[in-house]
């Protein structure tokens, strides 16, 4: 080992680069393969069920790009799942499983609706106030499963799913009793004030300023997780809570705070969706963007930087499937199947570790072969047991 040191930084530096790159590259490759595999499966399915598979396939794959309107619609569809995806990145960095962001998002939309309908504020301020209020509501709701887990060890996945029902029906109650437009036959709130609407980015499309707000949040969450002390606390607590506590990190408050931030982002997402896309609250059921957020966060490997990419991909499949179903004989629901496939691939540790395991195995056998080739006699003078590990590293490179 000592002779490796005297060789200077040259080869060591390249080894360093080699190591970190490999470790980051492999998950990216697997994620990409999962996405391609899902699309191929989708095409295969189309050929099984469709009477005109070629047209359907074309609509599915190219639909989002065939018309500018469709493309803008794809960008609009990215917005809510970017917010929920970011919120879940934080939860997954903490290694919690709560899906409470569904409640945060939905309640955020309700709070925004109340402000959009009831309050008179100047344009610009109106949606901003709504977002802040929605964020706070979402954040407070977000802390509930974390508090239950810390106080009574209630499983956060179960409790958050239960809370999602509670807050869904509470939201419906608020709309029905306080905000309902009685002139409408369907369940809808009274129309928002004009000042509530976010400006459009491109005239005559649905693309609204919420797209930019989402992009800003991608940057903010990246900075939060990887550049600030709170992000550090969250990542360390997620990596090993026992270690975090031992090192003096206040793990309980970190978990609750992380849930607050996650819910805050979810709540803002709900408000952005309301003020960007709608003239009144008209959801007949919960759109459950949290579940899409799960896929987005998983595809992004819980790194906010990659959330826009995975949100784009999911929106692309969505819009493609939507376009295809309206113009052919394949139902929109087939998208759910593809999402299932993606989750299966990404959630399977064995597949995820395939490349790494293969590389390590190859290195080990290379080391063994080198050992067999080395002159017999066993006892080597350098005596550095770890020397062979270095040899394994170079063996893999060859």
């Amino acid at each position: 080992m000592s002779d490796a040191k005297t060789r200077g930084p040259g080869p060591l530096a390249s080894v360093k680069l080699f190591f970190t790159d490999r470790d980051k590259l492999e998950p990216a490759v697997i994620t990409l393969l999962a996405a391609i595999f899902a699309i191929l499966m989708g095409v295969g399915l189309i050929f099984v069920v469709s009477k005109d598979p070629v047209t359907s396939t074309k609509n599915f794959l190219l639909g989002p790009f065939l018309r500018t309107y469709n493309f803008y619609y794809l960008l609009v569809a990215m917005v809510p799942i970017t917010f929920t995806g970011l919120a879940l990145c934080i939860i997954y960095q903490l290694k919690y499983m709560s899906l409470i962001v569904d409640s945060s998002f939905y309640t955020g939309a309700i709070v925004a609706t109340a402000i959009g309908v009831r309050l008179a504020l100047p344009a610009g301020w109106h949606p901003a106030v709504a977002m802040l209020a929605a964020g706070l509501a979402g954040g407070l709701i977000g802390t509930l499963p974390a508090i239950l887990k810390i106080k009574w060890r209630a499983n956060e996945l179960v409790s958050s799913l239960m809370f999602n029902y509670v807050f869904y029906f509470f939201g419906s109650f608020v709309i029905l009793y306080f905000l309902r437009d009685r002139n409408q036959t369907i369940l809808a709130s009274m129309p928002f004030q004009k000042t509530f609407a976010l400006p459009k980015l491109v005239e005559n499309t649905q693309l609204h300023a919420g797209f930019i707000i989402a992009a800003v949040f991608v940057a903010l969450v990246s900075i939060f997780l990887f550049r600030t002390k709170w992000g550090y606390q969250i990542r360390i607590t997620g990596a090993n809570p026992k270690f975090a506590a031992y090192a003096g990190i206040p793990v309980a408050s970190v978990a609750i705070f992380a849930h607050f931030v996650s819910g805050f982002i979810g709540g803002i997402g709900g408000a952005v969706e309301m003020s960007g896309l709608y003239r009144a609250f008209i959801w007949q059921m919960n759109p459950s963007y949290a579940w899409d957020g799960v896929i987005v966060a998983m595809l992004a490997r819980k790194n906010p930087k990659f959330v826009p990419v995975s949100a784009f991909f999911l929106a692309y499949m969505r819009v493609g499937a939507d376009f295809m179903s309206r113009r052919g004989d394949v139902a929109f629901e087939f998208i759910t199947l593809l999402q299932g496939i993606i989750i299966l691939i990404l959630a399977s540790d064995k597949i995820a570790n395939y490349f790494k395991a293969r590389r390590l195995r190859r290195n080990a056998f290379a080391a063994e072969a080198a050992l067999a080739a080395a002159p017999a006699g066993g006892v080597r003078s350098d005596g550095g047991g770890k020397g062979t590990a270095g040899a394994a590293g170079t063996g893999g490179k060859a």
Partner: protein, 519 residues
């Protein structure tokens, strides 16, 4: 010579890429006690797992009675007459010894399928009589001593028809007296015609007990010797591959003022047993206070309470005049208590996180690392981490590498590097060298002495009696959650004498023990 069990060119590659056994040729003859020595990580345990069918070899062959065998599980090995006593016992604590013994092969009442406890007890007592391994058949495992649990494990293997017994570091949990007793029992088994493979890294035990000794290093078999024809230095050089300094060099301690005073600490564990029973002690600057005791006699609980990881039911912990009883670990760390946790894998490190993140976990909020508005100064953190990596000789490719990719010794250096640079006045050190290779042990011991000479107060807990005795300036002995002896001068006692206290056979009077408070 005809060997009973033999391997030829046995290699094992683990899925994570570790080459744990390389072309190992190993052989044991019928009716002998064969010692297997090597440092931690030398491949002893892997070799035994291959022989016991818990792992299957990547290449090579195992021969039993001259016939090649391939075990697909330990069930096959047991059927072939190979039994293993693991370092961590495989027993059900809430069941009686007799029930544990027959588990899986229970005697039935007549032709019914009801369990016959009386017959199980009879079997246990008969077997114990035959092999001179007497146990309380009706007692629950949780209520009996560690050495009796070990006897039960040996009986369990014999009950299942083992002719070859593999014992994995059986003396690690025993006092010197219990070790002597075990050796007598093992020699009796040999005279019954049983074959024993005895794994250890304590050379004096090998020389006392074994007929032959095989040495492993770095996954390879280095050599096998008749114990009568070989000396210790040869074996220890073969184990390490170089000359080793076996003793610790240190000057006399210059004990200063008291910096930590713990009084009357108590803790009740999950079984309702008083794991810590009104323990008091004081730590002084520039002095290493060693804690001796068989594992599980309250040492872990004491460490956890002193460092804020567990709550005491009574008493107080005062650090430099400030009452910090039952405060969180963070508060104790800020008051200057650093802590090397006994388990570096589950507590001492965050395995998936980078070396850098692990090194900064107790100080990321210090002004030199935290800028305005909660932003971290990442360049400063990286610089500090790299410096620790260099000073503590942590062998890695980069500080950004996950801790999980390091060897045991280097992982421990990450823990030590962090805790020894924490600018603490008090170091609570538990099992600093458990599972660490000899080179790293030397390094760690030197660092601990250095810290003492810088005027730090050190509490050293270790289940390695030799380590505590050679490192410590003064000693306390713990038994059943109590301090039963205090030696102001650690060199004024012997391991035999300590053994009597560890077993609870001897106890000092309260005045003698009370001197540990230096009042």
């Amino acid at each position: 010579m005809d060997y009973l069990l033999r391997t030829e060119g046995l290699s094992k590659v683990y899925p994570n890429g570790t080459l744990a056994n390389k072309q190992v040729d190993f052989a044991v003859a019928k009716g002998e006690i064969l010692g297997l020595v090597g440092e931690n990580g030398a491949g002893k345990s892997t070799l035994m797992k291959l022989l016991y069918g818990e792992e299957s070899p990547s290449s090579g062959t195992i021969y039993l009675d001259g016939k090649p065998i391939g075990f697909s599980s330990s069930q096959d090995a047991i059927a072939a007459g190979i039994g293993m006593v693991h370092q961590h016992f495989m027993l059900v604590p809430s069941l009686s010894l007799a029930e544990n013994l027959v588990l899986g092969q229970e005697p039935k009442k007549g032709k019914s399928s009801f369990f016959d406890l009386e017959k199980a007890v009879a079997i246990t007592e008969e077997l114990g009589e035959k092999y001179n391994l007497k146990v309380f058949a009706r007692a629950r495992v949780v209520d009996v001593s560690v050495s009796m649990r070990q006897k039960l494990e040996i009986l369990k293997a014999l009950y299942r028809g083992a002719k070859i017994l593999i014992l994995d570091e059986p003396t690690a949990v025993l006092t010197p007296q219990e070790t002597d007793e075990l050796f007598v029992e093992l020699q009796a088994l040999r005279s019954h015609g049983h074959t024993i493979i005895f794994i250890s890294h304590k050379l004096n035990e090998i020389f006392k007990l074994c007929d032959r000794v095989s040495v492993m290093r770095d996954g390879r078999m280095i050599g096998t010797h008749q114990v009568a024809d070989v000396d210790r230095q040869t074996i220890s050089n073969e184990m390490v591959g170089r000359e080793v300094l076996l003793s610790v060099r240190k000057d006399k301690a210059k004990a200063g003022e008291k910096v930590l005073v713990a009084k009357d600490l108590s803790y009740i564990d999950d079984f309702g047993i008083a794991a810590l029973d009104h323990v008091s002690l004081a730590l002084r600057k520039g002095e290493i206070l060693g804690v001796v005791g068989v594992d599980g006699n309250g040492q872990s609980e004491l460490v956890r309470i002193l460092t804020g990881s567990a709550r005491s039911l009574s008493g107080s912990v005062v650090v430099k005049g400030r009452d910090l009883t039952n405060q969180k670990p963070g508060a104790l760390r800020r008051a200057g208590v650093a802590h090397i946790a006994e388990d570096r894998m589950t507590v001492g490190t965050a395995l998936p996180a980078s070396i850098e993140d692990n090194l900064m976990a107790d100080r990321y909020f210090h002004p030199e690392y935290k800028g305005r508005a909660g932003f971290l100064k990442q360049a400063a953190m990286a610089r500090a981490a790299t410096e620790i990596v260099t000073t503590f000789d942590i062998r890695c490719k980069s500080a950004k590498q996950p801790v999980s990719s390091l060897s045991g010794g280097n992982m421990q250096k990450v823990v030590i590097g962090r805790e020894f640079t924490a600018d603490a006045d008090i170091l609570v050190i538990a099992q600093p060298t458990r599972g660490v290779d000899v080179g790293a042990i030397e390094f760690i011991h030197k660092r601990i002495i250095e810290m003492r000479d810088q005027g730090k107060a050190v509490l050293l807990v270790s289940s390695d009696l030799q380590e505590v005795m050679s490192m410590s300036d003064s000693l306390v002995v713990m038994n059943s959650g109590k301090i039963v002896a205090y030696f102001e001068d650690a060199s004024a006692t012997t391991d035999k004498e300590l053994g009597l206290y560890m077993l609870g056979l001897k106890k000092q009077n309260p005045e003698e023990i009370g001197k540990v408070l230096h009042e």
